[in-house]
Symmetry: D2
Subunit: 240 residues, 4 copies
């Protein structure tokens, strides 16, 4: 059983009728709803929960953390960010969605600005599968379309990904590395571009398949102790 925690800042849904009409119980519950299945169990957590809902106990009991944030990135306390970062380095999987590219946790793990260019014109996006045998692409065809998205454009200020699984083509002329994998120490990370709050992206079947695949891919093979920096004994004693 893979244990997933879906984290959402849960701000737009409370402030905007439009967003609330698309995601009445919050983006986190929309994601949780489609993820729950025989091998995946899901809990949710939001910014306004105590400790952002991300206590040491919750993280130790989480195989994969999914992150959605946008307008309140700055309100996530640094100690929570650091706690999440340590969990990733020990092996917890992390899936960062859409505007989460600017979250403190993603920037801390990437080490770069994670900047990009954007516009909100509701363009058609055609998502191409670049790496068709990647576990995250299982069940996805040569490409699929999202009819109305926020456009993200290159250059995207990230380190070279381990693998670029998907790339997005926008009718307005841009392209973007839409689905990228990274690993940082023992944790696997997947960034996925679609998912704006004003478009019902998380009801799209292909998007759901990809996130479900990513959960299974990012779940740790084993959780290992945090790497520390010990003074060690010589291992080879033949000479001395």
């Amino acid at each position: 059983m893979i244990k997933v925690t879906v984290w959402n800042e849960y701000a737009h849904e409370k402030e905007s009728e439009k967003v609330a009409s698309i995601y009445p119980r919050g983006i986190h519950n929309a994601i949780a709803d489609f993820l729950r299945c025989d091998d995946i169990e899901v809990r949710t957590a939001t910014l306004d929960d105590p400790e952002c809902g991300l206590t040491e106990d919750v993280l130790n009991d989480t195989d994969v953390l999914i992150w959605w944030g946008h307008i309140r990135h700055g309100d996530v306390p640094d100690n929570v960010v650091n706690r999440v970062r340590k969990s990733v380095l020990k092996g917890m999987g992390l899936i960062v969605l859409h505007s989460g590219h600017h979250s403190k946790i993603f920037r801390a793990l990437m080490g770069t600005s994670c900047n990009l260019s954007w516009r909100e014109d509701g363009d058609l996006e055609r998502i191409w599968t670049i790496n068709p045998a990647h576990p995250i692409a299982k069940g996805i065809g040569r490409y699929f379309e999202l009819d109305g998205v926020e456009t993200y454009a290159e250059p995207f200020g990230i380190p070279e990904p381990d693998e670029v699984v998907f790339m997005g083509w926008y009718e307005g002329g841009e392209l973007f590395r839409s689905g990228c994998t990274f690993h940082r120490e023992n944790g696997r990370i997947f960034y996925f571009q679609p998912g704006h709050e004003t478009f019902p992206i998380f009801y799209n079947e292909n998007v759901q398949t990809i996130i479900r695949n990513a959960v299974r891919w990012a779940a740790p093979v084993l959780r290992i102790p945090e790497l520390d920096c010990p003074n060690v004994q010589r291992v080879h004693n033949v000479n001395k």
Copy 2:
């Protein structure tokens, strides 16, 4: 002309007679001395200088920053670290030496713990050239030896390097990825393992060649404006 700033926390040399006898004018000056040549000009900066000697003006006038620190990593203010990080992302080269693996700036750019295992037994280290055609390996043979070093052992908590140029073999049984390159946005980064304060490593001719090569490799082809995150206009107006 490549403009280099050599930064040193400059603490051991003031506190330890042994270190002072090896580096009487500080590690920074030992490095500056061998670097100065027809195409490289060098200034130095230390922790106790105002703003650590790393003002906006100094960084804007620096092509490659060399970093040596060990026992006072925590005393480098976060705003200085952030300023250096932005310079690297815009294109300034960065060379991190030895115990600098734990500096705030290297950890911030890597996103990982940068932990490792270590011991100070004065082992012989044999440094192997893994990538003999890399510009940083120019003039270095199949391997060379350092007769007395601090041992660093794997696993080393870094993201997968772009290139592993050198690896170190220690007589006591360990090995380490001793010379690694990374790029983060527009800046090139080289980490080099040798260089402990109690061993006269920076007088070794091969070490000097490698650091000089690394300066030429890390110097920016072009300095470009910081990547920002703009709302942009649609580039393609055929359809709408």
Copy 3:
């Protein structure tokens, strides 16, 4: 159930009493014996079988192919090599052991010489786990030792691996990237250095664990049709 085919040129065992005494039924059967388990079924194939035992039918029924060869690399017909290569590109996993670094199939997939330096002094090798959370390292400690091996030394003429999982330290002074992963189109490839015919390496428990882990890691998530090079229709018909 993962279907493995273990391929061995099966020459040394017939020609040398020493090798025959270590591997009386051939290296392929020694490997097959420890691999067979609840989720892995194994067949073997050798150079002298018709079509080297690697017909289209066998390859289509193989999830992971293990390759051991040394003195008869040149006798593997090019059409067999090409057939294996196509299977890998479609998704079949490939594990190349020891002297297989010079096999036609490994060189064809790497595109490089796959050269290295070597000596047969029966050195102690200490194999370090560089990437402790990698599925192939599951159950392996910080390092383990092989008491008597053929030494392989860098530089190793391969493309930059996706991941370096293990590195080998030899008491005689060399080091080597002992366990490397690659992917080529849809196939996963693992190269593992230990395994000389005159040392009983394949009876070592850690080596067995690593090869069993590698089988599970290299088994395809999905087998997909060979990528071809079609003339396709325009996908976007808004404009024209």
Copy 4:
């Protein structure tokens, strides 16, 4: 002075009036003409020259080889391909243009099919700079346009590139990794997608800048002897 050899199969220009009207002296001479400058000297070679114009002497005197081929890939003899491959592994740079993705030399160095999808509709292509500080992108803006190209579409059957410098967006809905770097042993390789024989691509100023940049980037820092596979002496004699 960088010594460039521009190789062209030189077939379309002889067979098609349309192509001849665009490139009256052949694609090779169009490329040679814009490359020649203070630090670059150029010779040309074609398929019908003795030994394809690529003798050992020519290759030893070439820093960077540029390759254009399309309908006569199969007519390049294997021994010539192998000779070029060895030169690349020793450090000669290689720039492969457009339909050269299917050349024997590119496929031999990649180890994969190098397949892709294509159509010849004269689409507008917008080439985005993904890696703006890369030496090959010097002088190129955020994007530039080619008004009428052959479309190449993903997936592109190549190993993960070292760096994706450019990506192409096509008005008909496709995208492609248009500018990719690789290194194979000591040689640097750049693949660049634009360049179809029926479009006057090589007169485009941005394309010319990119190819000129790529020549300077691919020129070897040093030419080193071919890596061989020697039996070597133990380097460390303390123990035995």
